[in-house]
């Protein structure tokens, strides 16, 4: 189980997170929503040690991990994979080399073994034909699929998706949604998804948390979000320009 407990994070004078707390249950597809700049991506980076909180605790499977050093984070990162917003494939490597990197670094596999395994992983996301292509030759949707294959190479228990459908065409976006749902349904993977994509949110989310002005505004199921009388939440989920929401 994942628990964020009273997380506080500032960048200079700007206090982004002002005491955020919630739990994520095993196997669920959990969405974090909120306006741009509210600290959604910042929050999930705390879970894998890419950022450290100024205050509060991050618990993963009964262990407080927020003060771990880089080396102690390695097992956490084997358990929690992350798909970044811009795919973040390494330009100097082919797709298959990108996918093989975690296998070599985390598992210490040899280059030929890791490449063979990586090709199988690319097959799973229908990208085997582009295994030897460089990322620069791929479209955004293809890069995203390779990035997902790389994130899944270590068979993680938790996967963090940072705006996985941003910049994708609707068909590619729905495929990514299906993949996230399948990970949860078939493999029991817990997914935490940062997203603005309302159709994804209400199609595949088990639960949603909305962050607003550094705090949790509402935590609940999609049905609870639709039913809430909270004007801020209603404005956000209906994408209205006018309303009580302050940006």
């Amino acid at each position: 189980m994942i628990r964020f407990q009273n997380i506080v994070k500032s960048f200079g004078p700007k206090e982004v997170l002002k005491g955020v707390s919630f739990d994520v249950q095993p196997g669920e597809v959990f969405f974090i929503i909120g306006a741009s700049g509210v600290g959604k991506s910042v929050l999930i980076k705390h879970l894998v040690g890419l950022m450290a909180p100024d205050g509060g605790e991050v618990w993963l499977d009964g262990e407080e991990i927020s003060r771990f050093d880089e080396e102690r984070m390695f097992p956490v990162r084997m358990k929690c994979a992350m798909v970044f917003q811009h795919s973040t494939l390494f330009d100097s490597m082919t797709c298959v080399e990108n996918v093989a990197l975690p296998l070599r670094k985390h598992r210490g596999m040899t280059l030929p073994d890791s490449l063979a395994d990586a090709r199988r992983r690319l097959e799973a996301v229908q990208m085997e034909a582009f295994a030897d292509a460089y990322p620069a030759a791929l479209g955004d949707g293809m890069k995203k699929r390779v990035a997902i294959a790389r994130a899944l190479t270590l068979d993680p228990k938790y996967v963090l998706f940072d705006e996985p459908t941003t910049s994708l065409d609707p068909v590619s976006a729905r495929r990514v949604d299906e993949l996230i749902r399948r990970l949860s349904g078939e493999l029991g993977v817990t997914s935490i998804v940062v997203s603005h994509d309302l159709s994804s949110i209400f199609t595949i989310a088990d639960r949603i948390v909305m962050l607003y002005r550094g705090h949790v505004r509402l935590l609940g199921t999609p049905a609870e979000f639709k039913a809430t009388p909270d004007g801020v939440v209603q404005q956000f989920i209906h994408g209205r320009a006018e309303g009580p929401m302050e940006l």
């Binding site: 980076k45 890419l50 880089e70 994979a81 973040t88 990197l101 670094k105």
Partner: protein
């Protein structure tokens, strides 16, 4: 009255903030350097990564360094010749003095200042772009320490290629100086190529400088790249910081090594 009273306090605060900032920067640089040395010994490098960087740092700087060191060599000898003509119209020791200066100081320092602009900017821009596009975060997620993966190949390549380029640049500057001395002042090359003033301590000093500058440029520039924040503007700032700080590092190290070796090997 209260404004007057608060002025010294404000000034002290500003000076303190700058001092803390400098101390923080120095601590971070030391940390990057220590971790780089650790991974040079303990890290597992990607096949060909260091060779690729040697090509980027070395081969691609060759023409730039040849042209700049050749021009500098000609200017230095021409100016030295003019001064000599005015004071003691005897050119027999121009080449010997120039060679001593070149080996002890100028080849390494001027060559490294040139490399700080080309190599330092390149390292900071490349690593800085990776930081702002989250590729460095992705590396950390793959259990690849950015210092080990990005900086160590550049560090080793810079150590080797800076020394090679400085020897080459020094040779070009000396030959260009020799041609200038012959054309402008009728000094035969046999007279110009005078090694009588050259001592082992000069060679040692030059070698120490090659090593120090070769290590400083990637460390300072890598640190600038890794501490990039923001978007393309941040990369621009990181690149500027890398060039300025690498150049500053070369000059400060020059002072320290020159002073130490003058004290250790008095002439």
């Amino acid at each position: 009255m209260s404004a007057l009273a608060s002025s010294p306090a404000r000034l002290a605060g500003a000076v303190g903030a700058v001092a803390l900032d400098l101390a923080g920067g120095a601590r971070e640089l030391y940390s990057v350097f220590a971790r780089t040395l650790y991974y040079v010994v303990r890290g597992k490098r990607e096949r060909g990564a260091t060779l690729r960087q040697m090509y980027e740092i070395g081969n691609k700087s060759l023409l730039f360094l040849t042209v700049t060191m050749g021009c500098i060599g000609m200017i230095l000898v021409y100016q030295a010749g003019l001064q000599t003509k005015r004071v003691v119209p005897d050119f027999t020791m121009v080449g010997a003095t120039y060679l001593e200066l070149l080996v002890r100081d100028l080849a390494a320092s001027l060559g490294s200042l040139m490399l700080a602009t080309r190599v330092g900017a390149g390292i900071a821009a490349e690593i800085g772009s990776m930081v702002v596009t989250e590729q460095v975060d992705a590396l950390r997620m793959c259990a690849a320490d950015p210092i080990d993966y990005l900086l160590v190949p550049r560090f080793i390549a810079s150590l080797v290629m800076t020394a090679v380029l400085i020897v080459w640049g020094g040779t070009v500057a000396f030959l260009a100086g020799g041609v200038t001395a012959y054309v402008a002042f009728d000094v035969p090359f046999a007279t110009f190529a005078n090694v009588s003033l050259l001592a082992w301590s000069d060679l040692l000093t030059g070698f120490l400088k090659c090593i120090a500058y070769g290590a400083a440029i990637p460390i300072v520039s890598g640190h600038a790249g890794l501490s990039t924040f923001g978007g393309s503007e941040g990369v621009g700032w990181a690149t500027t910081r890398a060039v300025v700080n690498s150049s500053l590092a070369v000059i400060i190290l020059n002072l320290v090594i020159s002073a130490s070796t003058f004290l250790a090997f008095p002439k």
